[in-house]
Protein backbone atom coordinates (compact mmCIF):
# COMPACT_ATOMS: atom_id res chain seq x y z
CA UNK A 1 0.00 0.00 0.00
CA UNK A 2 1.01 3.63 -0.48
CA UNK A 3 3.09 5.43 2.11
CA UNK A 4 2.47 9.14 2.69
CA UNK A 5 4.88 11.57 4.26
CA UNK A 6 3.04 14.61 5.59
CA UNK A 7 4.75 17.73 6.88
CA UNK A 8 4.71 19.54 9.24
CA UNK A 9 3.32 17.25 11.92
CA UNK A 10 2.24 20.23 13.98
CA UNK A 11 2.52 23.98 14.06
CA UNK A 12 1.41 26.95 16.10
CA UNK A 13 0.68 29.97 13.94
CA UNK A 14 -0.33 33.56 14.43
CA UNK A 15 -3.72 34.63 13.17
CA UNK A 16 -3.62 36.28 9.78
CA UNK A 17 -0.69 34.19 8.55
CA UNK A 18 -0.69 31.19 6.19
CA UNK A 19 0.60 27.65 6.54
CA UNK A 20 1.40 25.24 3.74
CA UNK A 21 1.08 21.53 4.39
CA UNK A 22 2.87 19.05 2.16
CA UNK A 23 2.09 15.44 1.31
CA UNK A 24 4.52 13.21 -0.55
CA UNK A 25 3.38 9.77 -1.71
CA UNK A 26 5.79 6.96 -2.51
CA UNK A 27 3.86 6.01 -5.66
CA UNK A 28 1.94 7.78 -8.40
CA UNK A 29 -1.71 8.37 -7.62
CA UNK A 30 -4.40 10.03 -9.69
CA UNK A 31 -6.32 11.71 -6.90
CA UNK A 32 -5.33 13.06 -3.54
CA UNK A 33 -7.85 14.11 -0.92
CA UNK A 34 -7.55 16.71 1.80
CA UNK A 35 -9.54 16.41 5.02
CA UNK A 36 -10.02 18.45 8.14
CA UNK A 37 -10.68 16.86 11.51
CA UNK A 38 -11.58 19.07 14.43
CA UNK A 39 -10.76 17.68 17.88
CA UNK A 40 -13.03 14.80 18.79
CA UNK A 41 -14.91 15.08 15.50
CA UNK A 42 -15.17 13.20 12.25
CA UNK A 43 -13.27 13.88 9.05
CA UNK A 44 -14.63 16.47 6.65
CA UNK A 45 -13.51 16.44 3.03
CA UNK A 46 -12.06 19.78 1.97
CA UNK A 47 -11.16 19.08 -1.63
CA UNK A 48 -10.01 16.55 -4.19
CA UNK A 49 -6.75 17.32 -5.98
CA UNK A 50 -6.14 15.97 -9.47
CA UNK A 51 -2.86 16.39 -11.24
CA UNK A 52 -3.04 18.92 -14.03
CA UNK A 53 -6.39 20.42 -13.14
CA UNK A 54 -8.00 22.65 -10.56
CA UNK A 55 -8.90 21.04 -7.29
CA UNK A 56 -12.56 20.32 -6.63
CA UNK A 57 -13.77 21.89 -3.39
CA UNK A 58 -16.57 20.71 -1.17
CA UNK A 59 -19.36 22.94 0.01
CA UNK A 60 -18.10 25.36 2.63
CA UNK A 61 -14.51 25.37 1.41
CA UNK A 62 -13.13 27.85 -1.10
CA UNK A 63 -9.95 28.09 -3.10
CA UNK A 64 -8.99 31.49 -1.73
CA UNK A 65 -8.93 30.10 1.80
CA UNK A 66 -7.51 26.64 1.00
CA UNK A 67 -5.44 26.83 -2.18
CA UNK A 68 -4.16 23.45 -3.32
CA UNK A 69 -1.32 22.58 -5.63
CA UNK A 70 -0.79 19.25 -7.39
CA UNK A 71 2.33 19.62 -9.51
CA UNK A 72 2.82 15.90 -10.14
CA UNK A 73 1.35 12.49 -9.37
CA UNK A 74 3.21 12.03 -6.07
CA UNK A 75 2.93 15.41 -4.37
CA UNK A 76 0.36 17.93 -3.19
CA UNK A 77 0.17 20.93 -0.90
CA UNK A 78 -2.69 22.51 0.99
CA UNK A 79 -2.35 26.08 2.21
CA UNK A 80 -4.49 27.42 5.02
CA UNK A 81 -4.63 31.15 4.32
CA UNK A 82 -5.29 34.15 6.53
CA UNK A 83 -5.72 31.89 9.51
CA UNK A 84 -8.05 32.46 12.43
CA UNK A 85 -8.45 30.42 15.63
CA UNK A 86 -11.39 28.63 13.97
CA UNK A 87 -8.90 27.02 11.58
CA UNK A 88 -7.28 25.16 14.48
CA UNK A 89 -7.70 21.55 13.50
CA UNK A 90 -5.95 18.48 12.19
CA UNK A 91 -5.45 18.42 8.43
CA UNK A 92 -4.91 15.10 6.66
CA UNK A 93 -4.17 14.06 3.12
CA UNK A 94 -5.30 10.74 1.72
CA UNK A 95 -4.91 8.56 -1.35
CA UNK A 96 -6.45 5.35 -2.59
CA UNK A 97 -3.94 2.58 -2.17
CA UNK A 98 -2.39 0.17 -4.53
CA UNK A 99 -3.48 -2.09 -7.25
CA UNK A 100 -6.70 -3.69 -6.20
CA UNK A 101 -8.53 -1.75 -3.58
CA UNK A 102 -6.80 -1.73 -0.20
CA UNK A 103 -8.61 1.22 1.27
CA UNK A 104 -7.53 4.79 1.56
CA UNK A 105 -4.20 5.58 3.17
CA UNK A 106 -3.87 8.70 5.29
CA UNK A 107 -0.95 10.88 6.11
CA UNK A 108 -0.08 11.20 9.77
CA UNK A 109 -1.79 14.59 9.90
CA UNK A 110 -0.85 18.18 10.65
CA UNK A 111 -2.07 19.50 13.97
CA UNK A 112 -2.57 23.22 13.53
CA UNK A 113 -3.12 25.65 16.36
CA UNK A 114 -3.87 29.28 15.52
CA UNK A 115 -3.30 31.82 18.27
Amino acid sequence: SAVISQKPSRDICQRGTSLTIQCQVDSQVTMMFWYRQQPGQSLTLIATANQGSEATYESGFVIDKFPISRPNLTFSTLTVSNMSPEDSSIYLCSVATGTGFLGYTFGSGTRLTVV
Binding site: M31, F33, Y35, Q41, S42, L43, T44, L45, T48, E58, S59, L92, S94, A96, T97, F101, L102, G103, Y104, T105, F106, G107, S108, G109
Partner: protein
Amino acid sequence: GQQVMQIPQYQHVQEGEDFTTYCNSSTTLSNIQWYKQRPGGHPVFLIQLVKSGEVKKQKRLTFQFGEAKKNSSLHITATQTTDVGTYFCAGQSGATNKLIFGTGTLLAVQP
Protein backbone atom coordinates in the same frame (compact mmCIF):
# COMPACT_ATOMS: atom_id res chain seq x y z
CA GLY B 1 -25.93 16.62 0.93
CA GLN B 2 -25.06 13.08 1.87
CA GLN B 3 -24.86 12.39 5.59
CA VAL B 4 -23.54 9.37 7.42
CA MET B 5 -24.48 8.98 11.06
CA GLN B 6 -23.16 6.53 13.62
CA ILE B 7 -24.47 5.40 16.96
CA PRO B 8 -23.49 5.34 19.68
CA GLN B 9 -21.11 8.32 19.83
CA TYR B 10 -19.28 6.73 22.75
CA GLN B 11 -19.20 3.28 24.31
CA HIS B 12 -17.39 2.19 27.42
CA VAL B 13 -17.08 -1.56 27.96
CA GLN B 14 -15.29 -3.95 30.26
CA GLU B 15 -12.62 -6.02 28.59
CA GLY B 16 -14.21 -9.19 27.26
CA GLU B 17 -17.59 -7.63 26.55
CA ASP B 18 -18.92 -7.28 23.04
CA PHE B 19 -19.31 -3.99 21.17
CA THR B 20 -21.37 -2.89 18.21
CA THR B 21 -21.47 0.37 16.27
CA TYR B 22 -24.14 1.18 13.71
CA CYS B 23 -23.80 3.33 10.62
CA ASN B 24 -26.65 4.89 8.61
CA SER B 25 -26.41 6.82 5.36
CA SER B 26 -28.98 9.26 4.04
CA THR B 27 -28.35 7.93 0.53
CA THR B 28 -27.73 4.55 -1.07
CA LEU B 29 -24.05 3.67 -1.11
CA SER B 30 -21.95 1.88 -3.68
CA ASN B 31 -19.71 0.66 -0.91
CA ILE B 32 -19.02 1.17 2.77
CA GLN B 33 -15.60 1.20 4.35
CA TRP B 34 -14.57 1.00 7.97
CA TYR B 35 -11.61 2.74 9.57
CA LYS B 36 -10.07 2.71 13.01
CA GLN B 37 -8.36 5.74 14.48
CA ARG B 38 -6.31 5.26 17.61
CA PRO B 39 -6.02 8.24 19.96
CA GLY B 40 -3.56 10.69 18.46
CA GLY B 41 -3.33 8.69 15.25
CA HIS B 42 -4.75 8.77 11.77
CA PRO B 43 -7.51 6.60 10.31
CA VAL B 44 -6.44 3.12 9.27
CA PHE B 45 -8.45 1.10 6.78
CA LEU B 46 -10.11 -2.04 8.12
CA ILE B 47 -12.40 -3.34 5.37
CA GLN B 48 -14.66 -2.55 2.43
CA LEU B 49 -18.13 -3.99 1.83
CA VAL B 50 -19.67 -3.75 -1.61
CA LYS B 51 -22.54 -6.20 -1.97
CA SER B 52 -26.01 -5.87 -0.52
CA GLY B 53 -26.27 -7.99 2.63
CA GLU B 54 -22.55 -8.73 2.66
CA VAL B 55 -20.94 -10.01 5.84
CA LYS B 56 -17.19 -10.12 6.39
CA LYS B 57 -15.15 -11.23 9.35
CA GLN B 58 -11.69 -10.31 10.53
CA LYS B 59 -10.83 -12.36 13.60
CA ARG B 60 -13.06 -10.88 16.34
CA LEU B 61 -14.56 -8.20 14.06
CA THR B 62 -17.71 -8.79 12.01
CA PHE B 63 -18.86 -6.27 9.44
CA GLN B 64 -22.28 -6.17 7.77
CA PHE B 65 -23.70 -4.17 4.89
CA GLY B 66 -27.45 -3.73 4.85
CA GLU B 67 -29.74 -5.09 2.16
CA ALA B 68 -30.64 -1.58 1.04
CA LYS B 69 -26.97 -0.54 1.06
CA LYS B 70 -27.74 2.38 3.35
CA ASN B 71 -26.59 0.96 6.65
CA SER B 72 -23.78 -1.06 8.11
CA SER B 73 -22.55 -2.38 11.41
CA LEU B 74 -19.31 -3.40 13.06
CA HIS B 75 -19.40 -5.92 15.88
CA ILE B 76 -16.40 -6.75 18.04
CA THR B 77 -16.54 -9.94 20.07
CA ALA B 78 -14.75 -10.09 23.41
CA THR B 79 -13.14 -6.66 23.31
CA GLN B 80 -9.51 -6.20 24.24
CA THR B 81 -7.69 -3.07 25.38
CA THR B 82 -6.04 -2.93 21.95
CA ASP B 83 -9.49 -2.28 20.44
CA VAL B 84 -9.56 1.21 21.98
CA GLY B 85 -10.08 3.98 19.43
CA THR B 86 -12.65 5.64 17.25
CA TYR B 87 -14.34 3.54 14.60
CA PHE B 88 -15.54 5.35 11.51
CA CYS B 89 -17.67 4.08 8.70
CA ALA B 90 -17.18 5.88 5.40
CA GLY B 91 -19.38 5.64 2.35
CA GLN B 92 -19.01 6.22 -1.34
CA SER B 93 -21.93 6.68 -3.69
CA GLY B 94 -22.45 7.13 -7.38
CA ALA B 95 -19.54 7.68 -9.67
CA THR B 96 -17.60 9.87 -7.30
CA ASN B 97 -14.55 8.68 -5.40
CA LYS B 98 -15.40 10.97 -2.51
CA LEU B 99 -15.39 9.23 0.82
CA ILE B 100 -17.91 10.61 3.29
CA PHE B 101 -17.07 9.73 6.85
CA GLY B 102 -19.57 8.86 9.50
CA THR B 103 -19.68 10.65 12.82
CA GLY B 104 -17.63 7.94 14.51
CA THR B 105 -17.93 5.83 17.66
CA LEU B 106 -15.31 6.16 20.36
CA LEU B 107 -14.69 2.86 22.12
CA ALA B 108 -13.14 2.77 25.56
CA VAL B 109 -12.19 -0.61 27.04
CA GLN B 110 -11.59 -0.98 30.73
CA PRO B 111 -9.20 -3.81 31.69
